[in-house]
């Protein structure tokens, strides 16, 4: 309990530091701090439309990708490839939408989502295989696979998946029967948010309450001890967690495609897979925490757009703040580790 109180306090400090930095950047770039921040808050939470159609809409892909990153990091796998896995999930769903165009929603939607999840899992399996077979660091391979996924998507939307008129570099629009149902009339809020909450709870429950989830955590905490004391098949556990992580990101891509964009295009993801790393770290890799931090980053991104529109502040300013937040979190963790190590040494 004391630990989680400290984590919350740390989170507060990090967020305050982020706010201070944002103000500083606004001043440095010659913008009035008050109106800019007001635009940011208004864009994120100013109206029910802002909340449902801007903030939560962005929270959903960030949440799925954040869960993917949390799960991988819990297993000690530095999966930086949620971006590529998410893209492949969307691409697979877009590809499946062609043969399924006439299918009823009850059949079509589950198939699209499953296809996206399997594609994300497959994309992660490539990196898992490279690591376990050839010892390739997953940090490198997943980043590289992100580029492959990015350009593969670019080719798909100019080639096999291009819309029938062959004018725009994007896939055909998803038939409305296959689109995820909208939750609130007049908004963009779709049932993907419910799916996200269910998946977050399922991930948390699996990690904490099942033997296979425990093995994943044990391997992430201490591979040697898991192997020696627990007789855990470490390679198989890592492969499983890696693939599951890709599955979550791929599902996120398919949900984004069927719930918001209804089409695949080259810049399908504005870096959701990378922001997800901050989402996961800020949540201290806790699946339920991810729901909160994904909402926070969703609000930041929505607010950044509003700030750009209403106050003329480039949205990259917020990207800088997000990046610094990651560094602050990692730094704060190291710092508190050092403090507790020192306290230990003193006793």
């Amino acid at each position: 309990m004391r630990g989680s109180a400290r984590a919350l306090a740390q989170l507060g400090i990090v967020l305050l530091a982020g706010l201070a930095l944002l103000s500083l950047l606004l001043v440095a770039t010659g913008h009035a701090v008050g109106p800019a921040l007001a635009a940011l808050v208004r864009g994120a939470f100013g109206s029910s439309y802002a909340i449902t159609s801007a903030t939560i809409v962005r929270m959903i892909p960030l949440g799925f990708a954040g869960l993917a990153v949390s799960l991988a990091f819990r297993a000690g796998i530095l999966n930086i490839g949620a971006e590529g896995q998410l893209l492949m999930g969307a691409a697979a769903a877009a590809a499946l939408a062609v043969p399924l165009a006439a299918a009823p929603a009850a059949v079509g939607i589950p198939l699209l989502l499953t296809g996206g999840a399997v594609a994300g899992a497959t994309w992660a399996a490539v990196a898992a295989l490279l690591r376990l077979r050839f010892g390739v660091l997953e940090v490198i391979s997943t980043i590289m696979l992100n580029f492959v996924a990015q350009y593969l998507t670019g080719w798909l939307v100019r080639g096999p998946l291009q819309e029938p008129t062959r004018v725009n570099p994007q896939s055909a629009s998803l038939p409305s029967a296959l689109q995820l149902p909208v939750l609130l009339e007049g908004t963009r809020l779709h049932v993907g948010v419910l799916l996200l909450v269910v998946v977050a709870f399922a991930t948390w429950w699996w990690l904490t309450h099942t033997a296979s989830g425990f093995r994943v955590r044990a391997v992430g905490m201490n591979e040697a001890a898991a192997r020696s004391a627990g007789d855990v098949a470490v390679g198989r556990t890592i492969a499983g967690a890696f693939v599951l992580s890709g599955l979550l990101a791929g599902l996120g891509g398919a949900v984004e495609y069927t719930g918001i964009t209804y089409a695949l295009y080259e810049n399908f993801s504005p870096g959701y897979g990378y922001t997800a790393i901050a989402v996961a770290l800020l949540a201290r890799l806790h699946p339920l925490g991810v729901l909160g931090t994904a909402l926070l980053f969703g609000a930041l991104e929505a607010g950044a757009n509003a700030m750009q529109r209403d106050a003329g502040v480039p949205s990259v300013v917020v990207s800088v703040v997000e990046a610094v937040l990651i560094l602050l979190i990692v730094g704060a963790d190291r710092w508190s580790d050092r403090l507790s190590a020192r306290a230990e040494a003193a006793t």
Partner: protein, 529 residues
Amino acid sequence: MSHSGAPAGAAPEHGPDAGGAPAFARAASVTPLLLLDGLSHRFGRVEALRGAALTVRPGTVHALLGENGAGKSTLMRAAFGLLQPDRGELRWKGAPHRLASPAAALRLGIGMVHQHFTLVPAMTVAENVALGGHGRFDPAQAAARVREVATRAGLTLDPDARVGTLPVGAQQRCEIVKALARDVELLILDEPTAVLAPGEAAELLAWVRRYADAGNAVVLITHKLRDALAVADDVTVLHRGRTVLTTRAADSSQEALAAAMIGDAATGHGNTGPATTGHADTGRADTADTVGTSSAGPVATGRVVLALDGVSVRDARGVLLLREVTLTVRAGEIVGVAAVEGAGQHQLLRVLAGRMDASSGRVQRPARVGFVPEDRHRDALLLDAPLFENAALRGAGARRGRMPWAALRAHTSALLARHDVRAPHAAVSARTLSGGNQQKFVLGRELADEPEALVVENPSRGLDFMATAAVQSALRAARDGGTAVVVYSSDLDEVLLLADRVVVMYAGQLIEVARTREAAGRAMLGSAR
């Protein structure tokens, strides 16, 4: 890096004739090149050095002998400025000095070659030798310097070869040249033959002899008696941080040195005096009393639980680490394993515990074997996880379905009570426990499902007296409960204290010996046959 902290000619604290040099040094007519006296140093609770002394005469090879953990490396690290001893005196050519860093030692003329090389594999020999120098780097000049130093010292070395591509012997020559290029007069070699093939080792020792004959001095850290007697002029033996024997090699024998190394009070001196107040020593103080009672343990009549028949283990490079080992362990006995470092005990224990596969031979092993590895932080515990999760780790690989956390918590609380693990509750993280409580916890966990066999490696490493006693009595209780127990300890006294039977590993081979310090000690050093 910083040279400011350690003035090269550190101001003498007292005149050259103020201190009392040991009798041995006074007996030698020449001023010793290096004199260490009364060096003490603690690492946390462990007293690594307790008044160790060493006197190196110019033009000699001085062998520094001792078991693992006797303090050999610590003593020489102090001589090379890598650590600053808590107490004690260092004199170089008669003048007292305080060495704040290896740079200061090198300026005096003391060089050291570590057991684990400190070379940059991607660089050439010349670049490695020039590393740490100042000013502009001139490849041609650096290569010429290497050639000059190597020729003068009589070592073959190509200055332009990449270190990573060189065989181990050549890498070692590179390390030596690196030290010699700084114009050292005293070269400390830490276990130099450990990494070499027999032919290379003989070559190196011959070079050491020639180098010393040319007027320099060498300190040879080793636990190989043959090496010591073959090339050394003088021998110093350390035991538990104390100098227990200093002698001319010509006046000594393998038996006398072996006896001193294993701390035989009859030959060594000063190691069982009343001044032994440290934790470790109090731990041993009961040795003499308890050996008697433990020998009354049950004679091995139980059924065979663990059996190895002609078991060999090769590493990835094909080197034999275990050579046709045959061993049986019966229910209700403790088999103690004694060995010096790297004799194959690491592999033996893991094969017995089912944590490593044999390359050949037959292994008989029960379904459940408990294993307590020596490095509990690395191999036994999830330090940041609560204790009940650590308890659940045993058998986690085969578990299916849900984790019964409520039952596991209760099970863990019972475990804490049964094995006297001092922890507030089962949900604190393993990191918050002291070393002794961590070890009691791990032992309790491994014993919880009543395994038929228990394999334990260095059970009391890093523990204080009370924890050591608790762990040892837990092992005896397991034995009395009918478990087949195998214990390895780097401390021979602990092996003798616990074991019903003693086996010794030497160079990958296993032999059973009498349960006496002399027999085990000789076999550990390979002089039994």
